[in-house]
Symmetry: C2
Subunit: 317 residues, 2 copies
């Protein structure tokens, strides 16, 4: 297949490129490198089946050749209040990537009768009142809060995707991606995984916002990519959760990282939680399990070891 | 003031034009007449303070002169499943009016440092789990249902409006408009008010979908316009409900119309409710009341009499 990946130079997008190239596909990446990085794709830029276009997805996409699939993964995605590339620092770009970007990417899919996959997010559930979240839960999102630039952009993108499916018969896939971690997360991403690992590698105490009792569930990136490929090749039009339901408190998570890195500095609690940061979020993956025979395989300690190794190299460079 | 009104040839937009012209302002209407009509503005097109631009708000807006306020009222708005101009028949246009239209209108406001008002809707509350709805209720919206083309477009528009306020200091107003009725509703609009009145004027029985126990609250258009003008002149950045909290069952409403028109044909119940049609929706207007000293004044029977008179003329033409 010939596949267009918007945001293909990002954390998840670049892993997707690797897998699709390995599987013998032809990959075109469109990325403006605002949150993605050429480092993530440096090892494949010379591949004869790979092409890179430096462009903002919010601008009209003029491909030279038809594609069989369009995978729209371009968007800032970190909720960090301080990271330079978090969506709170890029509010209007994030809204545009979700609305104009999805419109442009759908336009390509419609033109070439391609499969269209939207990278959606567990953030469409907002601060959920239902646990764990199934795909039919409508969510609890503040439409006017600071985080709405991401949450509402993705909800809009889902609505637009379904409208193109219903109106133009575009073959759509919507993956709702839950917390994912692994090599190529941006070191200044501001999310808990790079933060904790970098602090631990520097033998600093790990900073926990709140009392550490809030839970998260982390999916290793190779498991996510498995799910995405299965979904792409399925005929499931409606949204599908892909994430790891194994729940862990932030405190336990910090302690695990400290143990793996032999960091003696422990943890330190800070009061100021991020506004709108959900207390708990955990996918119900029954749908992916039943319809795609998918389930996450990589154990947390194994995934963390790979990720730690990546950040170690980054810090040594 | 010089004021741009997108959707100014629509039901609410055209009443807004009338009021603003009466108040001595200069009005530019931008409308592509997909759901609006030249009939609604025929009486003001020769006014020296009025100008009409036939354009889709989803395309770049190139005004010749600066404006002091931009009021973005353009969108299909009828949830009817059958009306030709309902948003279910115009799904992608509706999504574009909400996203690209709001972006373009905000662009004008940013360029000229104008006040920006977004016409939002009670539909951002979806099928609410809280009654009556206050502005801080986050809503219960299905992001992928057929009605999401309107609901999510308006939620996105609110998020974008707040982002322009936070990022570019645009002076924003967001009015969440609840059910409104009055002269100039489109006769084929498919909503309950034109449907009932036209059936009654033809001495047909009024068709009620469901058992008639679902409630609605209807605001007369002049009350809405009062609220909009007060909000425009306020400094309330965050969303403000404008609607009539007087609740009535659909059955009572039908009976009132039959009585006013002396229609002996009564009512007839149909089983098929519209998918996603909320069971109940009623504004909490404490904010508008306290901060704008606004409250609806027009009694239902008075407002209905005006509206009936309008539809009578339409049917006689």
């Amino acid at each position: 297949m010939h596949i267009l990946i918007t945001g293909g130079a990002g954390f998840i997008g670049s892993h997707l490129c690797d897998r699709l190239l390995e599987d013998g596909h032809n990959v075109v990446v469109l990325d403006n490198l605002v949150t993605g990085s050429l480092d993530n794709i440096a090892h494949i830029t010379q591949d004869k089946n790979f092409r890179f276009i430096n462009q903002n997805v919010a601008e009209y996409i003029d491909l030279q050749d038809p594609v069989d699939a369009v995978m729209h993964f371009a968007s800032p995605a970190s909720p960090s209040q301080t990271a330079p590339n978090g969506y709170l620092q890029l509010p209007i770009q994030t809204l545009k990537a979700g609305a104009l970007g999805t419109l442009n990417a759908l336009g390509v899919a419609k033109k070439y009768n391609s499969i269209f996959m939207l990278a959606s997010t567990s953030e469409v559930y907002g601060d959920p009142l239902v646990h764990p979240q199934t795909e039919d839960y409508w969510g609890n999102v503040n439409p006017i809060g600071p985080r709405s630039v991401y949450d509402e952009a993705k909800r809009f993108a889902e609505a637009l995707t379904m409208a193109y499916h219903r109106t133009h018969n575009v073959k759509t896939r919507i993956v709702r991606i839950f917390n994912t971690y692994g090599p190529r997360m941006a070191i200044d991403d501001g999310r808990v995984v790079p933060n904790f690992i970098c602090q631990a590698l520097r033998n600093d105490p790990l900073t926990i916002y709140g009392d550490g009792s809030q839970t998260r569930s982390f999916c290793y990136v190779s498991d996510l990519i498995d799910g995405i490929i299965l979904l792409l090749n399925s005929d499931i039009t409606s949204p599908t959760n892909i994430g790891n339901p194994h729940e862990i408190t932030i405190l336990e998570f910090a302690q695990t990282i400290n143990r793996l890195i032999n960091n003696p500095a422990g943890t330190i609690l800070e009061n100021n939680r991020t506004q709108g940061d959900p207390e708990q979020r955990k996918p119900n993956i029954t749908k992916a399990n039943q319809m795609l025979s998918w389930h996450p395989k990589v154990k947390l300690e194994k995934g963390l070891a790979e990720t730690i190794s990546f950040f170690k190299n980054q810090l040594d460079d």
